[in-house]
Subunit: 392 residues, 2 copies
């Protein structure tokens, strides 16, 4: 993977610490990330499943290469642009896990024509026929997974729905390889006890296994039974019948995952570096130069037991200031204030001081930035910059 | 401005209509935009003020050139990256309207060193001294506006606060040209009647004028008295003493501005093109391939009288489907559903059908995209692509 070296852009000597970077900037603590990656690998080692990391959070070949230091392995993506990007860097086993728009079938199959084992996801006969037609037009043999609905969260067919057989038949009739079934327990993001999360994981497993059994009864092979979300991946107790687990945000974690109980605050590997630009002591406010453009508008913790507003404020070494949050955000301004009811003092952060903000939702916050500024633990040294991709 | 022609990227012949673009994509209706631009110009013509459009929404030289078809004029920006971008395209009268981080002073002054009349904004003696020191180090004479707080929304000094005099003195002592005062009635976004908006505009005006008088009493010239927000710009009844108005989102408008009462739905010039990828008729859901990555997480209408969820769904010609909203959004999925309590039928939108989504907040939604696909009115023809800039 010679690309690694080429893509690692050393930061210029004049901006080699967190005290010197332009603000706002996205910071990635590589030590925390590697610990998070090792944790899930370790947990899944006791199950007979493979891990297919979802790269919609990281969108970075450098992060992907830390997931697979030896050689590229299976990955999940959320856009065809991600599939093309990771394929161009040597990844050849890719599941595009968003229901296929018929107009995207040709573009997806052009990747297969280049030797990339790209699998698409669908749940209607119309999509199956569009995929088959595109395959015939391009002379490429498509591969698909049928999306299964395990918790009413979004798309997919419920196990037992005869439409599963209809879609499978349309795939077979159209010369599409039916690889298996895929489901995602999206409702697990609303839970917060180990038992409830284990139950969500069991629901996810049971739905996928039941749908696979249904297909096998109809004579389909269905080799892949794919499940996953970061919460269920960390709390599943039984994965019998499952062949692969997908998870994405686990590499970085965030305040939503902390609120669910999947990680500690000091596991969160991404943060936004910001500078103090004003103070309103009479209101208990400190103003910073990071607003929603840098943090995103995501307020995922608003519906959790502890609302972290627009993020938890830390010092440059990544230690949270007690009760200090980004209380409000406009486009390029954030307002720091103590959590309601706090008896802590407002930290003495003068104009020009720098802080790091832990985000609600790593996927949304990282998407606001061009690159990760990579640090290790409490060291202020920015070792390298890892670019991110975006778009569709 | 030869850059215009260079930057207009004709879309390729294979993707020249809204039926053919990749989805999700950002669409800009140039007819609506030009009508919105003309409307505010017309309204302000009766006042003795100049307009300094805020380009934090558009972030596009092509849009800037529709504001100034003859020659570049005064603009406002929210980041130094915007200032550098617009300066590189010939704009030389720029106000950077976010409180200056001391570390950014040198970068800002390098633009002044290149002949760009860049004015910065500040409200503390520390910032004034940092700016003066950077000016001395670079041999460049800085120019600044003092930020005034007119409604307790964010930063700035209240009129009458003796700190205004302290900051002005620090600027004068440091050789910085004090251009005047600047305020922004951010609280106007929470209002919704013409009288309340006119009152907010009067508060904005009165605060800025009072602060300017305070400075003049101390012997400062204070030629610039700058106010503005899109709501107050459209509802101000008296601008005596004001020299310039700033507004940004008025070029595009959005559902938040519609909820405030500043525009009609069919004034909203930006939308997100999406494709139907699934249906759940038993739940009243239609799934599309645009989630929060394409729409942003902004839910600005959640606190308004009418909550538009993640956006209003329109047909390809830009006509809203009655009561159809993007009810939920995950990263790359949107769920269309009827507004709660609606007696409308769910439109018959099959897999593969295309829709356009009007966003809560144009600034946030546009920021998720690389470029505007430019159409005119109900025509499906994409005339050109206008790139957007981003970052800090």
């Amino acid at each position: 993977m010679t690309e690694t070296t080429l893509l690692e852009q050393p930061v210029d000597a004049a901006a080699a610490t967190l005290g010197e970077l332009e603000t706002p900037s996205l910071v990635l603590d590589r030590d925390r990330m590697e610990r998070n990656i090792a944790r899930l690998r370790g947990r899944l080692a006791k199950f007979d499943v493979s891990l297919r990391p979802h790269l919609k959070t990281a969108k970075s070949i450098d992060v992907a290469q830390r997931l697979y230091p030896e050689a590229p392995g299976p990955i999940t993506v959320s856009t065809l642009a991600e599939a093309e990007y990771f394929a161009s860097h040597g990844f050849s086993d890719i599941t595009y896990a968003v229901g296929l728009a018929p107009d995207k079938a040709e573009r997806a199959l052009r990747l297969r024509g280049r030797g990339v084992d790209l699998k698409v996801v669908l749940d209607t006969v119309d999509q199956a026929r569009a995929l088959a037609a595109a395959g015939a037009a391009l002379g490429v043999s498509p591969a698909a997974l049928i999306e299964i609905d395990s918790d009413g969260h979004r798309g997919g067919l419920a196990p037992g729905d005869p439409a599963i057989g209809d879609v499978a038949a349309a795939l077979r009739d159209g010369g599409v390889e039916l690889m298996g079934v895929l489901t995602h327990a999206g409702e697990s993001y609303g839970l917060r006890t180990p038992d409830a999360l284990a139950e969500a994981a069991e629901g996810e497993r049971a739905a996928a296994v039941a749908a696979a059994a249904q297909l096998r009864r109809d004579g389909h092979e269905c080799p892949v039974v794919s499940v996953g979300s970061t919460p269920t991946a960390h709390f599943a107790r039984n994965l019998d019948g499952v062949t692969e687990m997908r998870a994405g945000v686990y590499m970085f974690f965030d305040l939503v995952m902390h609120g669910i109980g999947v990680c500690r605050l000091d596991d969160i590997a991404v943060s936004v570096l910001a500078t103090v630009i004003g103070r309103k002591p009479e209101k208990g406010w400190i103003l910073i130069d990071a607003g929603w453009m840098a943090l995103s508008r995501d307020r995922g913790t608003a519906s959790q037991a502890v609302d972290q507003r627009y993020g938890v404020v830390c010092d440059l070494e990544g230690r949270p200031y007690p009760d200090l949050l980004v209380a409000e955000a406009s486009q390029e301004h954030g307002i720091l204030a103590l959590r309601a009811g706090s008896d802590q003092p407002l930290p003495d952060l003068p104009v020009g001081a720098r802080v790091r903000i832990l985000p609600n939702h790593a996927c949304a916050t990282a998407a606001q930035h061009e690159a990760y500024n990579v640090v290790r633990g409490a060291s202020p040294v920015v070792e390298t910059r890892w670019p991110r991709m975006r778009g569709w």
